[in-house]
């Protein structure tokens, strides 16, 4: 799999190009532009694909993830819904049962909670409860994550709520390239997929994204950096910080292996075991509150299968166990994971 480093910031709203080795021009997209591109390509490819959510139409979404889609596909395929999340999910589920390919947007992941019943009781169980008679191929997109002055209710990581629901898949990409390939795969998937996009990555992360029609496999983690001293397993925006931290540590002679989970439910257990066993020293990172988070499950998988390969206790770096991320900058900073915290944790583990 090709790997590309984030590009330095450019004009946020314009696609820029960079030359590849072969001399062709490859577009550089931001994380959110990759979302839009994936939606646009899928809507062009398949008439059954449509978008519904709050402000997704004329406005193109409050983050502009659906920018231009209304103009291109019209109001019947880019639907501004009433402000009612259970209906956004539930109506999408009904349409998916009919055979459509709805992509429902939750304006913020924090506001997915009114739709939890529809997602967990309905979408996740549809195939199973009907003994494979009915299916529910819906994609639910939601921007999550902190570091954007969003305070308690515009910063949360909500994946753990959904991450013990067999029947549901949860994808949390870390880069524009992965966003495009995984979102397209989610839309084509025949089961419900919760697709969580990090808000702070939307405009801060850019990389080359091919114009071609490619998908990436849901359920597969991805090695973002090969290394031999310590293993970092994480997902979402933390992957980007981990990559940068690893570059700094490389200068100190610490070689970091980085596994990006990409799909956080169900987990890619094989990849986790391989990555953990490779170095024997494992750092797990999440932006979510520590207790009950995804990485606790990752730790369980490693301790179940790799105990004798470990050279140090599994280390976890996570948000604190307070209800959510406060607004005031020093408090937000205290909560958030960042490159410095990751670098320090990596160094500690390497020195163990």
């Amino acid at each position: 799999m090709q790997k590309m480093q984030p590009m330095p910031a450019q004009n946020q709203f314009m696609t820029s190009y960079m030359e590849t080795k072969g001399g062709e021009m490859m577009p550089v997209l931001s994380y959110i532009q990759a979302v839009t591109k994936a939606l646009q390509e899928e809507m062009e490819r398949d008439e059954k694909v449509f978008v519904l959510g709050e402000d997704v139409g004329v406005r193109g979404g409050v983050f502009r993830a659906t920018d231009g889609l209304y103009q291109q596909f019209g109001e019947s395929r880019v639907i501004d819904t009433p402000l009612a999340e259970s209906a956004i999910a539930g109506v999408g589920i009904g349409a998916a049962m009919y055979g459509m390919r709805p992509v429902a947007e939750m304006q913020f992941a924090d506001f997915i909670l009114p739709a939890v019943n529809q997602i967990i009781s309905e979408a996740a169980k549809m195939r199973y409860r009907s003994n494979n008679d009915w299916t529910c191929p819906i994609t639910i997109r939601a921007p999550y994550g902190g570091g954007v002055h969003g305070a308690l209710y515009h910063s949360q990581s909500i994946e753990a709520i959904f991450a013990n629901q067999p029947g549901l898949k949860i994808v949390m990409p870390s880069s524009p390239y992965d966003v495009k390939g995984l979102l397209k795969a989610a839309i084509r998937d025949n089961d419900p997929v919760l697709f969580l996009e990090h808000k702070r990555a939307y405009r801060s992360i850019k990389e080359e994204v091919p114009d071609t029609d490619y998908t990436l496999p849901i359920g597969k983690a991805d090695v973002k950096r090969e290394g031999s001293d310590i293993t970092v397993i994480t997902y979402g925006l933390c992957v980007q910080w981990a990559i940068k931290a690893a570059e700094n540590l490389a200068a100190e002679g610490i070689d970091v292996h980085i596994l990006d989970l990409r799909t956080i439910y169900p987990l890619d257990q094989e990849a986790i075991k391989q990555a953990a066993s490779k170095t024997g020293k494992v750092l797990l990172i999440t932006e979510d509150n520590k207790e009950g988070s995804i990485i606790g499950e990752v730790a369980a998988i490693i301790s179940e299968h790799c105990l004798f390969d470990l050279d140090a206790p599994i280390k976890r770096l996570a948000g604190p166990d307070v209800p959510s991320m406060p607004y005031a900058p020093p408090l937000e900073k205290e909560f958030m994971i960042n490159q410095d915290k990751i670098e320090a944790a990596m160094r500690d583990l390497a020195e163990f």
Partner: protein, 330 residues
Amino acid sequence: MSGNRHQSLGLSNEDVIEMYRVMLLARRIDERMWLLNRSGKIPFVVSCQGQEAQQVAASFALNRSEDYAAPYYRDVGVVLSFGMTAKDLMLQAYAKADDPNSGGRQMPGHFGQKKNRMLSGSSPVTTQVPHAVGIGLAAKMENKSIVSFVTLGEGSSNQGDFHEGLNFAAVQKLPVITMVENNQYAISVPLNKQVACKNISDRAIGYGMPGITVDGNDPLAVYEAVKQAADRARNGEGPTLIEAVSYRLTPHSSDDDDRSYRNREEVEEAKEKDGLLSFKTYLQEQQVLTDERLEQMEQEIKEEINQATDYAENAAYASPESIYDFVYGN
């Protein structure tokens, strides 16, 4: 009942006889289920008794080979009308592998059968309402003249999904018919502790759609209301809320004892107004249904249920290993 009401609704004698047959089949299946439950053969029953007339009448007002239904747990009359059989229902009651609803995974009353366009339902009440709206949305997007029909109890109309679903359907002018089967109780809680409005249909005005209350014990009135709503839906005029008022003649389920919250006189009085009885009387008065035909119908139904019961009792359960099947498609 006066005059020939069914013909003025465009229903032939054979149509109304068939409607009555399906109502009676639903009732007799339900009665058999209670016997099987009380004799320890099946763990659970949730009844349609008292609501068959409205269920069958509403279904017959729809296009049963194209329209979609999102039935709730009492809708034996709806699912039989849409193509499920006594055998299917018995397989469900016995939780056998060939149960078309869920292969024995779900409790009885959790209906669903894709080939007959009946959406799979769950236990948390009212979640089916947005699903039915989603079917309506898809029908509109695909330019199909499909009507999406959804039912629920009056207590369940207090859930947020009712509000969210109906509002969505109205804003988008979708071909959705919501029929609230008001049977006066939500387990033990009576109507006046569920809502403060006079009729559940009063809520329709808040969504900007017509709201109609009909006597659920009068199947021809229900037929007429649903037919009009279906015509409106197919004409692109949007959704309708219909409240069919009847009475739950049994306890809430086989696990309930209704003597603790309602008196027998009330139940006996309601039994006299049972829509199944009044429809039979109407058909007899109209000389549409002879005693002979009725007797024959009862015999055939009994035979059908006997066979279905035997079949289901002897049918196989799903294998334990099958518990792992169908979590995901790929």
